[in-house]
Amino acid sequence: MSSSTTTQTYVPKTRVGKVTDYVDSRVGGSGIVKEFGRKIFPDHWTFMFGEVALYTFVILLISGTFLTFFYDPSMAETHYEGSFLPLRGVEMSVAYASSLDISFDVRGGLFMRQIHHWAALLFVASVAVHMLRVFFTGAFRRPREFNWVVGCTLLILSLAAGFTGYSLPDDLLSGNGLRIIDGVMKAIPVVGTYLSFFLFGGEFPGTMIIGRLYVLHILLIPAVILLLIGIHLFMVVLHKHSQFPGPGRTNTNVVGYPVGPVYAAKAGGFFFIVFGVLAAIAAAFTINPIWNYGPYDPSPVSAGTQPDWYIGWVDGALRLMPGTLGDNFDFEFMIPFPWGVNALSLNVLIPALVPAMIVFTLMFAWPWIEAWVTKDKREHHLLDRPRNAPTRTAIGVAGVTFYCVLWAAASSDLIATHFLVSLNDVTYWLRFLVIFGPVLAFMVARRIALALQRKDREIALHGRETGRIVRLPHGEFIEVHEPVDDYKRYKLVAFESPEVMVPAPDADGKVGRLDKVHGRISRFFFEDRVAPVTPKELAASHGDHHGEIAGAKDRESIASH
């Protein structure tokens, strides 16, 4: 970055010149303007998910700050005296009472609560969808691996932010959520009971947990999120944004619109659009009507309640895990030790930890796993269309399927009551699907990706079907194909298609064990492949008929297939 180069002799003449000179000669802003004022950002609708995540976070900070002015994170007992008549005189915590006051006695408070909750749901959703975009387009490849890891961490933090916030109103639902957390925590071997007592300040529910979650929710977690967002965006600028392949786009350039004025206007305007959409949702759709639930009490519970969507998959896993198999086997083991018997509750530990561990481990490690499989250490600034990386896409779809089955399982009771089927049958089906669904999804997704690639090949080689049927003089009917132009064709052929890497023997003529494994995995990844069309193929199948609506030559190409 060039530093301030103001000289003594420079006398600004315009107003802009005066202001910038005043600032620049003190803090040196010219370099920043020069670097960013016309920086190029590529444009694609899928690049907006990350923006949505950023903007919803800003909206969360704004609405959340408002809420902190009225919310009181105390679990002291009080009797409600506010405007909501059905709960008048009911014993409850100060936290719940102040949440009711925000809803009923602070003008605009309910609106702020609603926009905060909706924004939180959208925040986690947009982070997740953004990560899916990055995964399916291969944007995590070198040099962006670290930024992928920062993103994964942000996803976990956004879940933590969501859950800690969900618990704050101290209503019946959030209290039951905490009760489940307490139950899961106690299942952890050796230290579980202690963790629970330390977190809750004694026995559940205690009088400490809301205040502690509050500090995590409004201070620690948002501060770390903010820091990581800073690092995330710093790396985006450093790497420059990736772009889809296409005419004019190469691995060494960026094609798009300059920050000023176009991109700043579009991105800045988009913030207001996200805000506006959230405001409209908060205006029209009630979320978390805590006054219907009542204060937390360990005894009552309502049927058919749902956690916030992003917690659903863990709750679903808890539901799907059988506690017992048959009459004689259960997943809670009593382990005899010299000092006594200890309990190991695998029926809780497995569903609470294993799916999350699988998903997050694969997610964090994926850039290095894939780089090992492809042995590809080059920098990638051009994205993959998902169909052009069929195995990666299929693995991603398998992961999404696994997640979605668990997520659906969190609503197993509602599925049963809405579709009038047996709750037990729903559970049995979902148990089957959580194991075999990802396998099926993998196979189907890979086939679809390969089929789409074949379709691209057809179009690149023979052009688009016009739907025009022509009868030739000797009576044959053909459909006329219209060749695509160079730009369109380039989009269809500009991709890399890695091939199976056969393990090479070393100097002694031996193939190492790891090399063999690598060979097998490489075969699994790249055996089924559709190669991009080459100029030679195009020439062979068509001859040169650019720009002409084909007749006889198309007949040949149709006849040959």
Binding site: I40, A187, T193, F197, K266, F275, A279, A343, M443, A531
Partner: protein, 340 residues
């Protein structure tokens, strides 16, 4: 999947090693720029300008709507009025924001230049910088002498490992140690079963066949740590035909004439097992659908729980009220390591 179909129709295709110029298409470069309507037609340009201004005016109206809702919809303790105010505040904000946002985006898309610009990427790290940086780091290490002085290095390492331990230990007072807290509840010999939440005692004769009561121990509402005690002590009381119960040896007298009491806290992760299916004599936890069968001493017959609900032994006192014969014979609620 054992198939290995190559996608190339017709001749089998060997494709080019990535990057080879001969076998791949040349990049045709950016397509020619296509002017928009507003670039060519003065009237269209003016129209777009008016549309943007109109959107900004809609934003102004939205802000006004917000103020109308805020100042002219007095809350009167009804949900309907609150909803109306919420709707006006929300729609006002929505129009205010969407007007600005859509207006600016429309402005950018119709009136600002839409020529795509190409910028070259720079190497993330020029080789000369790397060499300089490596030299600097080496110089720093050398000048600090950390490699040459293992005594300093090792003592620092030891100190650095120990120093954070107080930061962990200082969290010790976050909570008391569990002790026996999870193994005992308020129930004890002679403690009356009372209704939740009123605390009125229950006579055996009040409990008709087929009925169920949500029960708390007598005096719960007066204790200091009410919620903590309640989270362990809540009980479901049901009366069945005595012949439908099949008590195991030693538990025959834990009930009274078909009346049985079971812990309401699920042995899975602690939700209240609040649903009693009267016809089938099943108890269902609404959180994760663990199902317990009263006819088999609340054995788990479905779902993720692994242990039966603990039974509270009960009897009837001189005045005909139901009382506990003792505390639960095992810890209630979710499992924990020390449960044993």
């Amino acid at each position: 999947m054992a198939d290995s179909s190559h996608g190339a129709p017709g001749t089998s295709v060997t494709v080019a090693t990535p990057g080879s110029e001969l076998d791949s298409f040349a990049n045709p470069g950016l397509p020619p720029h296509r002017p928009r309507l507003a670039d060519r037609d003065r009237r269209a340009e003016k129209r777009a300008e008016r549309q943007v201004a109109l959107l900004f005016i809609i934003s102004v109206l939205g802000t006004l709507l917000f103020f109308v809702g805020y100042f002219f919809i007095p809350l009167d303790q009804t949900i309907e009025r609150l909803r109306l105010q919420n709707l006006m505040l929300g729609l006002g904000t929505a129009f205010a924001m969407l007007g600005i946002g859509v207006g600016i985006v429309h402005w950018a898309k119709t009136l600002m230049p839409d020529h795509e610009v190409t910028e070259n990427r720079h190497a993330i790290r020029p080789e000369s910088d790397r060499q300089d940086a490596e030299k600097i780091v080496n110089d720093i290490l050398e000048e600090s002498g950390i490699k040459r002085r293992p005594l300093i290095r090792n003592t620092l390492l030891g100190a650095a490992i120990l120093a954070p331990l107080p930061a962990i230990a200082i969290f010790r007072d976050l909570g008391p140690l569990p002790g026996n807290a999870l193994k005992q509840t308020m129930w004890d010999t002679g403690v009356r079963l009372t209704r939740d939440p009123s605390g009125t005692p229950i006579r055996a004769s009040d409990v008709t066949v087929g009925s169920a009561f949500h029960v708390i121990p007598e005096g719960l509402n007066e204790v200091e740590h009410k919620l903590e005690e309640k989270a362990k002590a809540v009980v479901l009381l049901m009366r069945l035909d005595p012949e439908e119960l099949n008590p195991s040896p030693g538990r025959e007298n834990w009930g009274y004439d078909g009346i049985v009491a079971y812990s309401k806290i699920c042995t899975h992760v602690g939700c209240p097992v609040a649903l009693y299916e009267q016809q089938t004599h099943h108890l269902l936890c609404p959180c994760h659908q663990s199902t317990f069968d009263l006819e088999q001493e609340c054995k788990v017959i479905f779902g993720p729980a692994a242990r039966p609900l603990p039974q509270l032994p009960i009897e009837v006192d001189d005045e005909g009220y139901l009382v506990a014969s003792s505390d639960f014979q095992e810890p209630v609620g979710p499992s924990f390591w020390e449960r044993g």
